[in-house]
Amino acid sequence: MSAPTRLVVGPFNRVEGDLEVHLDIADGAVAAAQVNAPLYRGFERMLDGKDPRDALTIAPRICGICSISQSAAAARALGAAMGLVPTPQGAAMAALIHAVENVSDHLLHFNLFFMPDFTRPAYAGRGWFPRAVARFTAIEGGAQRAAIEARASLMHILGLMAGKWPHTLAIQPGGVTRAPGPREKLRIEITLRAFRRYLEEVVFGGPLEDFVALETVAALSVWGRGDVGLFLEIAADTGLAGLGRGRGRYLSFGAYPVEDRRIYAPGLWQDGAVQPVVDAAIVEDLSHAWMLGETAHPFAAETRPDEAMRAGAYSWCKAPRLAGAPAEVGALARQVVDGHPLARALAAGGGGVLARVAARLLELAHTQLVMEDLARGIDPGARFITQGKIPEVGQGAGLVEAARGALGHWLRIEGGRIASYQIIAPTTWNFSPRDGAGVPGPLEAALVGAPVAAGEDTPVAVQHVVRSFDPCMVCTVH
């Protein structure tokens, strides 16, 4: 056995925000990993003492890529504290607005963040390489251009119903600020039809319903059409199924609350079964974060940065744990918990890089169908918002699903002002540092075993694993 060597990888780009990964390498593979979020922003501190409604303006600005998810979580947390739920049509429109963002994020991740790594010279000898270069060369590939155009067009729904993206104030505790009329409903349907055409012609190369109907990894692997087909060919050739395997414990808060249900169900997937999510069982451990204070539930927690950046800690990211253990979140988790057979098959197959990326593509297709349903259901005569009052004292949690997974806001109000505001973002779960028991976070665990070729200073396998999580570091370090 050769002596382990240390490798520091950064700046880690094509993730949202910055990231530094410390690797111990032994025998041509990662033996241990430490994930460092090298930025502290302090949003929770900013909100202290403010008018609770200001969370609707400030919280979305945590993140420029999942801004609407932050809006939705803030609105839900406020609503819970106010005892206010959105009108049914307001909730459905908020869900549609949110789905547009999540779908846009999946599209961007696949085309701009994840796939360009296969245009690296290291892969020049592979049969698929010329096609990967033509489609996914950074900033120049045909798929990249098509993706940003399709995304910009899809976001016309946000211009129409949310004013702008990112950073809208359209989502309120009682619904949405703008009531659509018949014209708006029509425009939304027109935009969605154009987006479906793009997905079917370019991304999937076939009907979305056929892709959503896939149930096994074997059926997926012979899809063979569109940019998805190219990805699957590359995945098979490079062994992405076995790379970056997960621990098989998946958390979803459930996406798109409408009336009495969430369109994608909430739950914790563990040992082959779905359990309910117990909010009270969530804590954040600070043992390896540059944060002061005790392990606590978000209603009791605080955010005090350790300005001395003590030795032993290595990240501004806290370590969230559910019932004492880490959980992986994201599209794969969401679809596994919701019960999609393909997602469960991918998870059973190890939940590695292939599984995370394929689940995102599955959800991209599936959510287009969801958006079409929501658009069909718009009732232009209905109420889209209802009003309420901020209480003098109260608390509430807003648990939603961002593109990258479970997002929670926990708000306490005292004297009519924000007494505490705690946020756990999806990447906080996935890129969590070790906890007090030394248990690594999901990415840290998934990186172990990733191959490192002689002379590689920025191992490409490590990049595939990291990007398969679609990290959002700016959220992580809110």
Partner: protein, 332 residues
């Protein structure tokens, strides 16, 4: 001409918004003008050692640096070290990198209100002791001193907005590429006048409500949001309602207030964002360039003269009463 883009302490939303550029898409807009990214943290292939080599070469002057674009505020904490944001893999703070790279740049562009003035990153007591690239709020002098000039002779160009409209950024970059952006094209806060010479009020679809001070009372109502809901579109610079966002949007078109996100210190309005501060029931804050006495007089007169249609619609959640039809008096 090349662009080196840094993401400092911010949300990344200005890049996300930039990707919404249309007709043509962002990549064609830039390449058509001969602009290319030397490196962009969200878009470029290079990671880790490859990216470090690019940054080092730019700082050493081994590659020409035409435009240094900075997105996000610059963290100075804790205790002036800048260690609240380390540029990963380099062992150096973003503050240190900015100070190393800026003098090498032909032009420096601050993208978004965090980069220009500190923005939301500095809200609520500024926990990371952040500043803008060349301003600390409305005060000149940020991470770079007030007297800093890029090699072109221009100060930092402040494309403010939270987020920035994709057109504001691409047009600034294309004007720099064409050599058509001079000091006279910037306002007193360093913002390009092509969008900062307008007010958000210009082209606002609520203008008729504004004319009569027919006001929305609760969020979601159609009326003007100046009197009750904190809208300061009559004071905010930006062409948001002249060239809309994401197709046909803007904050006021989305039926929520303009919060003046292109301005220094917008993040701390000293009142709730969605609520207009009032003294003795009279809203505080005047439309830009409006003498107070005239505004008071005109407002009370127009309020008294509000047609029923406009008064009814102002507190409805959609236009319930359409304009009265007037029959042509012509041929029959």
């Amino acid at each position: 001409m090349n662009i080196l883009w840094l993401q400092a302490s911010g949300c990344g939303g200005c890049t996300m918004s930039l990707l919404c550029a249309e007709d043509p898409n962002l990549f064609d807009t830039l390449s058509g003008a001969g602009l290319r990214f030397l490196w962009h943290p969200g878009l470029s292939l290079e990671t880790g050692a490859e990216a470090r080599a690019i940054l080092a070469a730019a700082e050493a002057g081994e590659v020409a640096l035409d435009i240094l674009a900075v997105e996000g505020a610059i963290a100075r904490g804790p205790r002036g070290t800048g260690r609240f944001q380390m540029l990963s893999g380099t062992g150096r703070s973003m503050l240190d990198w900015l100070r190393g790279l800026a003098p090498m740049a032909e032009n420096v562009v601050a993208v978004g209100t965090c980069a220009t003035y500190g923005g939301v990153t500095t809200a609520g007591g500024n926990p990371s002791d952040a500043v803008g690239v060349q301003y600390d709020g409305a005060h000149p002098g940020g991470a770079l001193p007030a007297g800093f000039r890029a090699r072109s002779g221009l100060p930092v160009i402040n494309v403010a907005g939270c987020p920035t409209h994709p057109g504001w950024v691409t047009e600034t970059l294309l004007m720099l590429a064409a050599g058509t952006l001079g000091p006279e094209d910037l306002d007193a806060f360093g913002r390009p006048l092509f969008y900062a010479r307008h007010l958000v009020h210009h082209g606002c679809p609520k203008n008729e409500f504004y004319e009569y001070k027919a006001s929305a009372i609760e969020p979601g109502e159609m009326g003007c949001m100046m009197e009750n809901l904190g809208c300061i579109g009559t004071q905010a610079v930006g062409d948001c309602n002249i060239r809309p966002w994401n197709g046909e949007g803007s904050c006021t078109r989305g039926n929520y207030p303009c919060i003046n996100c292109t301005a220094p210190e917008f993040e701390e309005p000293r009142h709730a964002f969605g609520e207009t501060p009032k003294i003795a029931g009279i809203p505080v804050g005047l439309p830009t360039d409006m003498p107070k006495a005239w505004f008071m007089a005109l407002a009370s007169l127009s309020k008294a003269a509000t047609p029923a249609r406009i008064a009814t619609n102002a507190t409805a959640d959609r236009i319930e009463t359409p304009p009265t039809l007037r029959k042509p008096k012509g041929r029959r």
